[in-house]
Structure formats: C-alpha cells, structure tokens
C-alpha cells in the first residue's frame, strides 16, 4: 500500500502540473469564455480544504451538526456578496490591487505601514492553516500506508515532498507576470479542476460507502445513534461560528485571491452566487453519515480520519485511495492559493521596498522576491507543522485562522462603505483585534507548550474569562476581538483627522459605484512630469517590452504622439501609478511616482469635481457607444438592403436578357422562313404549307411568352383581379385531362384523374385555376418518362381546403430545388444554363394564382422518385370577396 500510495500521489501531482500547463494555454481562448463563470465558481470552492475532508467529519462525530456552520456562514455571506465583490473588482482594476493588504493600504492613503501590518498579521494567522494542510497530507498518508509519523524532520515524510512540489507549482503558475493582479489562467483552471475532483471524489466515496453500509450488520446501530442523538448547542457558539466563517469567506487570502484578484470579468460573479453554495451543500451531504459510520465501524480511530477508515473497511483500499486523493487535492489547492496570496503581500510590503525599488532593473528582482516569499512561507508552514501542529486537531487550527482573518473585517467593510473611516483607526483596531485573538486562541496553546500552568489556572486565563462570560473560549475570542476591534475603529475614525490624500482615496473607494469607476481612476494629479523620466520609471518596474506596449496603447486611445508631447499629464501619471501599483503595491508606487512628479495636493472639492466630470465623461462615452452601436446596426441593415437591391437588379437584367432571347429565337425563325417564301415564288405547295405552319407555331409561341410576361407583371403589380364563382375543382380537372388525352395517347402516356367523391365546391376564379391545372398537367406530360409514362391528376377534400395533386413518373426534381422552382427569377436564370421545354414562367404564374386564392403550392417526391406538384385552395362556403 505504501508504494501504491506514493505512485498514485505522484501521478496526481503530475496531473495538476499538466492541468496548469493546459489551462495556461487554453483557458484564455474565446472558446472557454462561456465556461468562465463555472470555472470561477469552482475556483471559489478552494474554501473547502482538507478540513472539509477530515476535520468536518471529526467535528460532526464529536459535536453533531456544528460543522455545518462553517459552510452556512459563506452561504449567508453570498446574500450580500454581489455588491461587495462587484465594487472590489472595479477597485482592483482602477487601483491596481493584488491582495487584501493592497486594498487596505490603498484605501487608507496608500499606507506602507498598514500594508506591512496586514501582511505580517495575515502570515501569522494563515501559517498555521497552511501547516494544517501539510499535516492532513502527512497524517492521511501515514494512516492509509500504516506508516509512523516521525516528530523529527525526516526525508521519509511524504508531506516534505508535497510541500516542495507545491513551491514549484506556485512559482511556475503563480509568478509568471510581474503584475500581481493579472488573472493567471493556469492557476485558476487548475484550482477549478481540483475543486471538481475533490467534489467528485467525496460524492463517489460517500455513495459507495453508504451503499455498502446499508447491508452492514451495524447499520441499525448507527441509524439508532443518529436518530436518538439530541443536539446540545449553545446559541452564542452558533452565532460566532456563522459570523466568523462569513467573514473568512470574504477575507481569507485564498478567497480574496480567487474571488477578486483572479477574476477576469464582472459577469462571472452572478453565477457563483448559487453555484458555490450548491457546491458546499453537495460536498457536505456525506459528512454526517461518515461520522456515524465511523463511530460504529472504527471507534478506535481518530475521528478526523473516519473518511479513510470507513471507506477502507467498507470497500477496500481502492475507495480509501480515492478518498485520500480527494483530501490531497483539497490540501494542495489551498496551499497553492494561500501561499501565492501571502507571498504577494509579504514580497510587496516586506521585501520589495527594501530589496527592489533601489535597484535597477527591478522587474526580475520583484518576481524573484515573490518566489522567495512563496518558498519561505511553505517552508515555515512545514516547520510549524512539525514543531507546533502535531498535537492539535485539524478543526482547532482552522478556526483559529478564521478568527484571525476576521480581524480585518471592520477596516475592510468600513473602507468600502464609510468615508470617515481613518487610517490610524484601521491600524490600531486591527492591532487590538489581533492582540485579543492572540491572548484567547494562541496563548493557551503556547502556555501548554511552555508549561505556563500558573497562567492557565489564573483568573485572567482565556478559558476562565470565557467561562465567567458563559461562553466557550472560541466564542469569547470571536466576540471580544471583533467587538473591541470594531468599537475602537469607529471611535478613532470619528475622533481623528486624515490627510487630504487619504480623504481623496476614501472618496474614490466609497463612491466607486456612484462614479462608475471601472478601468482607470480619474486623474487626481495636478501638474506634469517629463515623459522620458516617467518612461524610465515604468521600464524599471515593468520591463521595456510591457512599457512600450502600455504606452503605445495609451497613446492610441488618447490620440497622443509622445514625440510631440514630451510631458506626461495628470491622467498619464495616474495611469502610470496604477501600473506600478499592480507590480509593487500602491504605497511603493506612490513613492516612486513622487520621485519624478512634483505633486500638488487637490482639495476634496476639486476631487469631487473631477469625479463628477469623470462620471459625465463616462456617461457620454456610454451614450456615444450606444449611438455607435445603433449606427452600426443601421449600417448593417442598409448594407443588407443594398445587397438585396443589387441582387434584384442582377436578376432583372438576367430576366430581360432571357425574355428578349426567347422572343428573338422564334422571330429569327419566322423571318428566315418568310424570306424563303418571298425569295422562291415557285416553291412546291407542300413546302410552302410546312413553312407557313412553322410560322404560325412560332407566332403562337411568341404570343404565349408575351401573355405569360404580361400575366406575371399583372400579378406582381397587383393589377390582376380574381373573379370568384362557385367552382367544382373536380370538373376543372376532368376537363383539363380530357383536353390533354389526345396528346397523351400520341406520346404513349397513361393519363387519368382520380377525384374524391366527397369533394365540395368552393369559391375560386375558375379560369385561373383551370390555367394552373393545365399548366401543371402540361409540365407533367413534358417530363413524364418517355417509356411507360404515367400522369395522374387527383383531388381530395381536406378539413378546410381542397388539395389537388399532379403526379408524373419522370426523372424527378432534386430536393434542393423544391423551394425555388416556383421562383420566376430562378427559372429564368436557370434557363441560361439548362434550356427548359417551356417559357419557364408557368410555375411562377401558378404560384401567384394559388397565393392570390390564399392557397399553397409545393413539390413532393414519392419514394419511387416520382414528382408530385400539389396545391391547396381554401374551402369557402361564401364568396370571400363579398363577405
């Protein structure tokens, strides 16, 4: 089992590298665009870590349903998430935000110290959580492989290799670009893939295990336990867990990274509102069953590993291995994203200001510092796991991190929605919140490790204070830390003043929706800077290639020629600052910009005016874009109409050409025969008679053609009127068949009619309908088979119409031509290629006549290849023209 697990684990890790490589190339393609909302929702499921696979089951086994609150909290948060995430997404783009530290630093006056505080405290809060994932990998492997976990560092520890591979993966797919906020397709695709994998793994393992357990002798016992267990829960515990997990969903570095930084479109957010909670519901369906199965099947095992033990007992090693892979997938995705987010914060606020901004060029150095931070975080997490986390349960570590990250909530929400929120208030309230968190949730662990029993037993110990409040330590820590934090934040914000720059930033953040700020912030700089200096600054941090690219784009959009405009104006400076913020954070960007620009402070009134102006420009742009779209559509329609007119003109030309050609042919024959008669008065009588007959026949042909053209013109111009009388269509068919009988006999064609006895009389123009029948019969006789020809004319009574069919056993009409044989233009056009026996206008006239009667005409092909031309006439009991 040991080596099998090692090989399967390695194969899985190779698979996620392959997924990263695949998505890096494919996910940004337009073909994947419709799938992005789903990918985004799945990426948010990085929330479900190894804790979901192991810790939740352990918690369910020990305290029933309380584990569910960790997933219900985010579901509740989603009710309010849409406006928050939309605003954050816009701010990410307009302010160049790459992390929570960037957000808070930028909002509170581009403060380097606040960003550094948030980065350090995030590391303190999340490092144990990352180590929890490493612990889960190590312990689940050891449990299944039945290997012993060594408390000292060992090269035999699988978690060591997984940690090293996570460093490689995060660096390979998370630090490709120097801009921290640029979505990374390989990363988001891989995380979405892992989320899908862990969900499928959990569900498959759950279904198979339950199916096997239903037949198990101990099923009744487990079911009894489940039904009879009462829930002894504290209201305060429930409220605090819901609140903390809702905040954690918004503020955990991995959630901020996937939810905001890696999001590439506002449109992705809406779908995640229901997909993500649905994911949480499905993945939690099997937690309680595993807890109860574990209690009866493997009571001796640590409850955190009931998933592995139960699946192994019920379905063997294969199912347990799938469960292990699900847990591995959950752990690795959390490690990758959390480390990347923390690495961004640490490098931006603790490394770049000291090691990169003073050295040139800085681009590669910044990327290297980010890589160094990532490696350091995972190594620290691994060491923490070995020396601190071995004795703690999975759940306890996770909740400690949740409470830690919740300390940013007042400053975060205040920063988004309260213009009076101040930087010192944010700084000190976060610090106070973390002190209370440390005292209640970290100190007890430290005291145990350091044997500080006197503190543990004193009345000031965390557990004793919580007991005096009638709360659990966790609830007391949550309420007190967040309570003190929020009170201090509000108090200091109301008491203190802030700099003009901070006030301006507050305005930009709080009013981001109102002023419609999406891509670029409006210019808040007065003054100019030499363009070469600005360009040199950008080249230093973005590299020459990207600098050329962004400057060229900026110049194109704003119609600027850098050669004739040697000064960068306020808008350009704001744009450059945003680009720098994406790379080195807002605080360092501000310092760098200040080194080339002599900045003048703007009053808040001036900023408001600029924002109003910017809003007007945006609205104007929107209106212009709307008008431009309308114009585009109108132009397209005009183009279509023009194309149609051109086509009609072509058809008209062709029609005229063919008609004149048709007229010329008999005229030429008549002329030449008349000349012969004129030149030879002694011509034998028989020849003379033959020429005269030919001349008469050609004149008939000319008359027919001219009549057809005139008929068509009448129909199409609407000058043709119908004279409706009561008509027996059957009689018209019989007459037409009788007229053609002699010709049919001569050609050896079997011509007959079949009239339905129930056929009723209807109102129609008898002459015109007779013309249609005669025309169709004439065509059928022309095209019927030369040998054994057959033509049938029939009429049947339908519910509200009369159907007439003329069938011949000729060569048939290709299916592609069924729709267009009634088109006169088609007929005429076709004549130039394939000469028909008639004028080619007969069917077009038939169609016009039938349509004037409000009937339909069409072609059918029988299974034997015979052609049947059919038309219907509405059944009128009264003359429709008179009613």
């Amino acid at each position: 089992m040991f080596y099998t697990l090692v090989i399967i684990g390695i194969l899985y890790l190779l698979l996620i590298f392959l997924a990263g490589w695949f998505f890096e190339r494919k996910l940004s393609a337009s073909a994947f665009k419709p799938w992005m909302p789903y990918v985004y929702a799945l990426a948010l499921a990085v929330y479900c870590t190894a804790w979901t696979f192991y810790g939740s089951i352990g918690r369910a086994a020990n305290s029933g349903l309380s584990f569910i609150l960790i997933y219900l909290g985010p579901t509740l948060a989603l009710f309010l998430w849409y406006p928050v995430s939309k605003k954050l997404f816009r701010l990410k783009n307009s302010q160049g935000i790459s992390s929570l530290a960037d957000f808070l630093a930028a909002r509170y006056g581009k403060s380097q110290s606040l960003g550094a505080l948030v980065a350090m405290l995030s590391l303190l809060g999340i490092l144990p959580y990352i180590s929890l994932q490493i612990k889960a990998i190590s312990e689940s492997f050891s449990f299944l492989a039945q290997a012993e976990i060594k408390s000292s560092l060992s090269t035999a520890d699988p978690a060591l290799y997984v940690s090293l591979l996570m460093i490689v993966f995060t660096i390979a797919f998370g630090t490709r670009y120097v801009q921290g906020n640029r979505p990374k397709a390989g990363l988001i695709g891989t995380i979405a893939f892992e989320s899908l994998f862990k969900l499928i793994a959990f569900v498959v393992v759950g279904i198979i295990a339950i199916k096997s357990f239903v037949k198990h002798p101990q099923f009744d016992q487990a079911w009894l336990n489940f039904q009879s267990l009462s829930l002894d829960a504290q209201g305060s515990e429930w409220m605090s867990t819901l609140l903390i997990s809702a905040f954690a969903f918004m503020l955990l570095p991995r959630q901020f990274q996937m939810g905001i930084v890696e999001n590439n479109s506002e449109k992705n957010i809406a779908k995640s509102l229901w997909l993500f909670p649905l994911y949480l519901l499905i993945i939690n369906l099997f937690v309680l069953p595993f807890a109860f199965m574990g209690q009866v099947l493997s009571p001796e095992v640590n409850s955190d590993f009931y998933l592995l033990s139960v699946s192994k007992i019920l379905s063997g090693d294969a199912l347990a291995t799938l469960a292990f892979l699900g847990g591995l997938s959950a752990s690795t995705s959390m490690i990758i994203v959390s480390t990347l987010a923390l690495g961004n914060m640490i490098s931006t606020y603790l490394l770049v200001p000291y090691f990169a901004v003073k050295n040139k060029p800085a681009t590669q150095r910044i990327i290297n510092l980010r890589r160094l931070a990532i490696a350091l975080i995972i190594i620290l997490a691994y060491l923490y796991y070995h020396f601190m986390a071995l004795s703690n349960s999975l759940v306890s570590i996770g909740l400690i991190s949740f409470v830690a990250m919740s300390q940013f909530a007042p400053a975060f929400l205040g920063g988004l929605y309260w213009r009076d929120a101040k930087r010192p208030a944010a700084y000190w309230s976060i610090t106070l919140g973390f002190i209370v968190w440390f005292y209640f949730l970290v100190m007890p662990n430290l005291a145990q490790i350091l044997d500080l029993n006197y503190w543990l037993n004193s009345s000031l110990s965390a557990s004793n204070i919580a007991a005096r409040m009638g709360l659990s330590t966790f609830s007391a820590a949550s309420f007190l830390s967040l309570g003190f934090n929020a009170i201090l934040f509000v108090f200091l914000s109301l008491r203190l003043n802030s700099s003009i720059e901070e006030q301006n930033q507050a305005l930009l953040f709080v009013e981001a929706d109102k002023f419609g700020i999406k891509e670029n912030s409006p210019s808040l700089y007065r003054g100019t800077a030499p363009f070469p200096n600005m360009k040199a600054l950008l080249v230093n941090f973005l590299g020459s290639h990207r600098t050329e690219e962004v400057l060229e784009r900026y110049a194109r959009l704003n119609n600027i020629n850098w050669l004739s405009s040697p000064l960068a104006d306020g808008r350009m400076i704001t744009y450059a600052e945003r680009l720098l913020s994406e790379t080195i954070g807002p605080a360092s960007a501000k310092i760098m910009i200040a080194s080339v620009v002599q900045k003048e402070e703007l009053s808040q009134r001036e900023v408001l005016d600029i924002l109003e102006e910017s809003k007007k420009v945006l609205l104007l742009n929107k209106e212009l874009s709307k008008r431009s779209d309308q114009l585009k559509k109108a132009t397209e329609k005009l183009q279509e109409a023009n194309d149609k007119l051109l086509e009609f003109a072509d058809l008209k030309d062709e029609f005229l050409y063919t008609v004149t050609h048709e007229l010329r042919t008999p005229l030429t024959a008549i002329r030449s025969q008349a000349e012969l008669l004129q030149d030879d008065p002694e011509m034998p009588e028989a020849d003379r008679q033959m020429f005269l007959d030919n001349i008469v026949a050609d004149c008939d042909r000319l008359t027919r053609l001219i009549s057809n053209v005139l008929d068509l013109e009448k129909f199409e111009s609407g000058n043709q009127k119908l004279s409706l009388t009561k008509v027996q269509v059957g009689d018209l068919i019989r007459n037409a068949v009788a007229n053609y009988q002699a010709m049919a006999l001569k050609q050896g064609i079997d011509l007959a009619c079949e009239i339905d006895d129930s056929l009723k009389a209807t109102y129609a123009d008898a002459d015109r309908i007779a013309q249609v029948i005669t025309n169709l019969l004439g065509n059928a006789l022309k095209f019927a088979a030369a040998d054994g020809g057959l033509v049938r004319a029939s009429a049947i009574q339908l519910e509200d119409s009369v159907k007439v069919s003329i069938l011949d056993n000729g060569n048939g009409i290709p299916a592609a031509d069924h729709e267009i044989i009634f088109d006169k233009f088609y007929q005429v056009r076709d004549q130039t290629r394939r000469k028909p026996l008639g004028s080619g206008l007969g069917l077009a006239i038939c169609k016009n006549i039938v349509q004037m009667h409000r009937g339909k005409i069409w072609v059918e092909s029988t299974a034997k290849g015979e052609t049947c031309l059919c038309f219907t006439l509405p059944q009128y009991t009264k003359n429709p023209l008179k009613s």
């Binding site: 349903l65 989603l78 406006p83 829930l231």
Partner: protein
C-alpha cells in the same frame, strides 16, 4: 437596486434566526433538525439562483 440589497440584508437576519439553535425546541432530534437545515439550505440556494439570474440580465 439598493432596495434588493436591503431585502437581502433583512433575509440574512431572518436566516440567522432560523438557523440558530433557538429553533431546536421544535425538533425532536438531530435527525429532524438535519432535515430542516437541509431544506432551509436548498431554499437559500433557490433564492440565490433567482437573484443571480436577475443580476445576469442587468
């Protein structure tokens, strides 16, 4: 739109009450309470689904 957000905030408050153990008195066992939570969760997702469709159209 702001009215919708306010309605959602009110819903969250109501759901906090509905999810709280204050309601445990109505349920005879963990089993019954689990079912209650499950259906409440499904209803929440259905509401979010409807709301997200509205946002997508906007």
């Amino acid at each position: 739109m702001e009215k919708v957000y306010a309605l959602n905030a009110l819903l969250v408050f109501c759901l906090l009450l509905l999810l709280s153990p204050l309601f445990l008195g109505f349920f005879s066992s963990l089993w019954a309470y689990s079912l209650y939570l499950f259906f409440l969760w499904v209803i929440m997702i259905a509401y979010l689904y409807k709301w997200s469709k509205k946002m997508e159209k906007k």
